[in-house]
Symmetry: C2
Subunit: 453 residues, 2 copies
């Protein structure tokens, strides 16, 4: 390179992105868009309506709402007008603000989905991003267990619609644990108890009991009784039966149990596969935020990636912004985890184009015919790309192959004169001559080809 | 309110949003999502693939790329890691950075669409927002006029698919004006000339000529010759004929003319309505950024809202980031303007729910049946909401009405016993009894009802 070239090189800016942020290329964006569209369709099928809120909020709207960790990780700054602002770190705080602000017009129950980016300046670690998309649905304004059942049904429908067959919705209730703690007089120590309980499996039983004695002030018998929760297993009905004596006489616990019962029964009564929902009273994560039912969802083939759809019931969404009490229930679909799972399970075809059909620009004088054919096929519902330049056919077909087109339609002078085209299956290499004067014949042939997996 | 109540009131935070930002409630978000989905479908039908890029970029990636105005309006700050960052103000700079960074893997031609938010801290004015969504498509890597034709076809398809029948794609070429300016030796004054030309219609002809003399150093004859451009009218073929002598002998001008010709001819040959594209050499706006074809699109019934889809050809997308020359062409759909237009033209039905069918929770003991029926109907492709609580039927139907459901399916004890339901058309109030034991009959009845506008 000459001196001039180097000079230019120096004034160039190196193209790069911030750590923790991502460029999405077509091959990852196509399955991502498909997943988001599927989620929307499921939400809509249950009457959840879309909303959106600003990326930036006044800082006081966000601050302190997600705890110290959220405050520390928040992207915040002073805007050009001197306002203190922050980028949202979740979609729940904006929902609370939104519902409080528009409560007069929205009406209850209010069922919304919100699929949007959030930002957290986390310490960098594998699989964690500073910008990621959340995909939430919530029903605000009803305490009835029918919303709890519906939440489970939506989760089931989401996973099923995304092509997963083997998954388990784990169900618990904050009220069960609260009832038991209330009975033994440890309700005010629930956070400490939960924290200890959560260590089961990582440290041994005795250590957990000792920690409960020390941190929560539980007696040995009380600690052992609480730990019995973790021993429960068997069918949902078996667990429900075993829980019954443990909560008997305590109103909160009995309510929690009755609601778990109703969720399990309602789920199956609605036509969902009852084997997919499993009461698991060891789920402690998230219990601190929720007040009733709690859901986690694991893929049976990839339990290690953690919950792919979690949520639960809360008593009061927006107490910071309004005196109106707004109970609700909702959950959030883990897009990044599910996409990683789809990839691991070989569920994502490797394509870089959303179009199926490729028309090479083969005959230099044929552009109008190529454009016309592409237009006709699009009007028949097909997705068609015409190569923009009359390069060598081999080069164009190589491009088509790399992009992942399924079919090429090749026409040269001979084909134009005979009113035919060569339809080439780019997967098998098979080629057939098809007449072009009857569009229906060609469309039928293409649809047949495309319907073969 | 008692003292306690006031105390709580004081600690509450007033729910509000930043000026220039928007909350999207379901009734505006539903048509918005529909528009974005339609745009995606059109883009995909031509082989444009989705990409996404980070909201935040290193400041030096963004700075200076959109001019002083963009720099001034940019949301920028120092992140927690001490990095200078900015929020993207358009999707073109990120595209340039993206293509330069990934050029080895992407392959050319590279056709992408990108639908995402951008931020500009503009002075507040009516109809301008500080956060808005851009909806761009571009084809990078080809100089061939076939991409220009395709750009016009995509614009046409977008507007048509969004339900607009009466619109005009205005077409011009930077090369025509450049050719003429080159002939008279004023090429280096093109910006000044354009600025003057753009005032035609606002100030009188003589004033424009005088400004061109003064600011661009044009002679009176030269200025008058340039102004002849604005007088051209008639059919596309007429304008092309009239332009011919004006650019004769100048290579750039002749090329521009030949390409305009090819765009107009190719557009019609592809099966699009030729009346919808109109050569308009008075389009000056945007010419400064573009190097070839330029497009603007106006709705014939609402010309006042300005162009709803604009774009054009550029020689070199990413010269700041790479030495690889990347010519391209693209355009951007104006979502906010088109949504405003759809509303003005009465094209947006007023609904707050994406579901069509409402099932009131009428009989307290019937929850399982309601959930089962809703599940069956969803599996048949319908969108169904079950009210979450057994409130009074009138109250539930009022809710259904306000939300914009089309049909309610009412079942009480009598209906359960007789295996029927009452299907109520919420628009007309008409009600029919339909059997429920044969789901197909009910689905058919509902689909018939829903297909009536």
């Amino acid at each position: 390179m000459n001196a001039d070239g180097k000079e230019t090189e120096k004034t160039r800016i190196k193209p790069r992105i911030l750590s923790g942020f991502r460029d999405f290329r077509p091959e990852v964006m196509i399955p991502r868009e498909r997943m988001i569209e599927t989620a929307k369709q499921v939400y809509r099928a249950y009457g959840f309506a879309p909303i959106d809120t600003p990326t930036l909020e006044y800082l006081d709207i966000l601050l302190g709402k997600g705890g110290d960790e959220s405050d520390k990780q928040m992207y915040r700054f002073t805007d050009n007008g001197g306002r203190e602002v922050g980028m949202r770190f979740d979609l729940t705080v904006p929902l609370a603000r939104f519902v409080a602000q528009h409560s007069n017009d929205l009406g209850l129950p209010f069922k919304r989905y919100h699929i949007a980016l959030v930002w957290r300046g986390e310490r960098q670690q594998f699989g964690r991003y500073r910008e990621f998309m959340q995909c939430d649905f919530d029903c605000i304004g009803s305490l009835h267990v029918s919303s709890d059942i519906e939440t489970a049904l939506v989760i089931d429908d989401l996973l099923h619609s995304l092509g997963f067959d083997r998954f388990t919705i784990r169900l618990n209730s904050r009220q069960i644990l609260n009832g038991i703690l209330e009975t033994v007089g440890l309700l005010d120590k629930s956070v400490a108890v939960l924290r200890s309980l959560d260590k089961l499996g990582k440290v041994d039983r005795t250590a957990v009991i000792e920690e409960m004695e020390e941190k929560a002030g539980a007696s040995r018998t009380e600690a052992e009784n609480i730990l019995k929760l973790a021993d429960l297993n068997g069918s949902n009905q078996q667990i429900l039966r075993d829980l019954e004596p443990m909560v008997r006489g305590n109103e909160v616990g009995e309510t929690g149990l009755a609601r778990l019962h109703a969720i399990v029964d309602g789920f199956e009564a609605a036509g969902a596969n009852g084997a997919r929902i499993k009461i698991d009273v060891s789920i402690a994560r998230g219990l601190a935020y929720y007040t009733g039912a709690v859901f986690e969802t694991v893929l049976d083939d990839l339990p290690g990636i953690g919950s792919v759809c979690s949520g639960g019931r809360y008593d009061d969404l927006a107490g910071v912004y309004t005196k109106q009490e707004l109970p609700g229930i909702g959950a959030s679909l883990g897009l990044d985890r599910l996409l990683a799972a789809q990839e691991k399970l070989g569920m994502i075809p490797e394509v870089q184009t959303p179009a199926q059909i490729f028309i090479p620009y083969f005959d230099k004088t044929g552009l109008h015919q190529y454009l016309k054919l592409a237009g006709d096929l699009r009007r028949a519902g097909l997705r068609v790309e015409v190569y923009p330049e009359a390069k060598k056919l081999g080069q164009q077909l190589k491009y088509a192959d790399r992009r992942g087109f399924v079919v090429a339609i090749i026409q040269g002078r001979d084909e134009f004169e005979q009113g035919v085209c060569q339809v080439k299956d780019l997967r098998s290499g098979d080629q057939n001559e098809v007449v072009t004067d009857d569009l229906q014949v060609l469309v039928q042939h293409l649809n047949d080809l495309l319907s073969v997996e």
